[in-house]
Symmetry: C2
Subunit: 357 residues, 2 copies
């Protein structure tokens, strides 16, 4: 059974970092006989420029027929003037939705070699290792009705709908509880149940699903408090589960706590562990084409792919260990550079990981 | 013309901290002949316990007839099992909405005496002084339709509506630009215009209103990036303006950067500078009744009241200087205590401010 990976380099630094990740993945593929095959397609701004749409049908078909998708990043100022419907982000949102990738895993790990990179005091963040599980195909991102209309008064009114059904909440709850079971068995569900009925339902369903996981300690927190607690004492968290919108914000806060968002991967999974894998950082158009971007987040995304979609934990651990070894050898891309280290290019970092494999 | 202040101590530590703020305000009132008068009423859980509603009609009438409202805090675990409609928070939301207090000012200031209290490194936060302007009577907090209903499939579905009209955005924009004009003339509007149409309208109206304020530099940022930037480099911001929901989250992040949320006041203003003033922290039921809560946020809220509603900048500055002097005299409540300081009670801190006046 061939295992197909759709490769979507995207925009900005996407192609550069994906190239490094593929170098690593190809090596592991050959070395361990994993039988993975690759096919590349356009998405985002690059697809818009070529086809007039950020998600061409052939790209979507490729993704649907693949077992996993490796994505670089999408977007950039070049496409910001475009209408909503054809903006690069729509490519990303389209894949998430069409492939039903409802469970978005965003680990925030502070590498001991990079403690200094955090803006937080070392005692607050050292050893940080938390996982945010973000619902990715529902909520206000996709709710109807939406749009801008003209009211009777003649003025424009904009509206979006935050909506969740019990079944949508239930499936992300199960995802999160299962992940908590494999970690430290503590799950914090984040909502705004004191104001928003949609998240009151969220809280109730989380509590109900929690009964199936008596070994996991479930707590609830309001989103404003959770954002505060991430800054005050982030190590109190093991796994956080939350809505699409709150997860967008909280996962970026959590990522920034580590001081090196160039290091953080993500997985977006459907019910059968088919998934899209991408770095959590963006397309960084300001440094695109310079060969200085950090490819480690994308390389670590490949490790997540091997673990979650292809059930190859050993291969995943090999990559993660190689990333650690590369850091131990003191090579650093510009974003994580500090005194006394050796600065390397994007491909220099890819090579360092390859060498450590 | 008598100037009436409605005093709503609320729940938890509310009564204790409001008592200290009134001590300070009464002194200034007499000393400077401000002619302020006070009347107290119940709100939140305390009102629910007495009248079965968190916002009794007589409390609302008192607020409507007053020039300013001084609020302690509402809520606590005791009332969490209650139905949404009668929860203590509804008292707060009801006053905001009924009094049209659409402009919520939340300064995040790091006191030099308390730099150590932040979890962020001193070089990242020292000198921090930013202002968040949060829209407070619209957005998803108040949008219709809302609620939990049973779908055709038989399952429950929860929904809330994020909605803003041009005029709602325009008035908060003017508030924010005027505040920026009095500060460092930089305004960052935070939205999620790449995904939510309602905030695309937000962005467009901000840009349009910005033309009236050519002396203010307007920028736009997506909410996930803004949350990140607050952790990465908070001093880049002067004034941030954002929606009700995003403001709830970002203002708590900003507050926590200072490490001492017991220090931070807030103002919620209508179009005529009538306002409600309250600390940004909550009712802290765990320490209620122990006389250890920090009253400074409430005392500083009174200073905001004198500045914004009663147009008494001198009186406001006197209180702010007295708070500074109290900190300089090394008295600290438990929440901001550190080695070598003198720990004082809630009323001890109130006395220290009075003494410095
Ligand atoms: C690019 C944007 C649409 C996207 C999102 O909001 O989900 C991004 O911020 C992310 O977190 O993956
Ligand atoms: C208590 C709650 C309803 C309130 C809000 O969400 O506005 C609080 O968090 C705040 O920020 O004032």
């Amino acid at each position: 059974m061939p295992k197909k990976i759709a490769v979507l380099p995207g925009d900005g630094i996407g192609p550069e970092i994906v190239a490094e990740a593929l170098k690593v993945l190809s090596f592991i593929n050959a070395d361990m006989g994993l039988g993975l095959s690759f096919e590349t397609a356009l998405v985002g701004g690059a697809a818009y420029d070529a086809f007039g749409t950020p998600l061409p049908q052939q790209t979507l078909n490729l993704c649907k027929n693949a077992d996993a998708v490796l994505l670089g990043a999408v977007g950039g100022p070049k496409w910001e003037p475009l209408a909503h419907a054809v903006r690069p982000e729509r490519g990303l949102l389209g894949i998430r939705s069409e492939l039903n990738l409802f469970s978005n895993l965003r680990p925030a790990i502070l590498y001991p070699q990079l403690v200094h990179a955090s803006t937080l005091k070392p005692e607050v963040v050292s050893g940080l290792d938390l996982m945010i599980v973000r619902e990715l195909t529902g909520g206000i991102y996709f709710g109807q009705p939406r749009g801008i209309h003209i009211a009777e008064s003649g003025e424009k009114v904009g509206a979006n709908t935050e909506i969740y059904s019990e079944s949508e909440i239930r499936r992300i709850a199960h995802s999160a509880f299962r992940i908590a079971q494999k970690r430290h068995k503590r799950l914090c569900s984040v909502d705004k149940a004191n104001v928003l009925e949609v998240t009151e339902l969220w809280r109730n369903v989380m509590t109900e699903v929690g009964k199936d996981y008596p070994d996991v300690e479930l707590s609830h927190m309001y989103v404003d408090n959770a954002a505060m607690q991430l800054v005050r004492a982030p190590k109190q968290f093991d796994v956080i589960v939350t809505t699409n919108m709150f997860g967008d914000i909280l996962s970026d806060v959590a990522a920034m706590l580590t001081g090196s968002i160039g290091m953080l991967p993500s997985a977006s999974l459907d019910a059968n562990a088919k998934g899209m894998y991408e770095p959590i950082h963006g397309s960084a158009p300001d440094i695109a084409g310079q060969g200085i971007a950090n490819p480690l987040a994308t390389i670590l995304s490949v490790a997540m792919m091997l673990r979650y979609t292809f059930n190859q934990p050993e291969a995943a651990e090999r990559i993660e260990a190689a990333v650690n070894a590369a850091l131990d050898s003191n090579v650093r891309t510009a974003d994580i550079y500090s005194d006394g280290m050796t600065q390397v290019s994007t491909s220099g970092m890819g090579d360092a990981v390859l060498k450590a494999l």
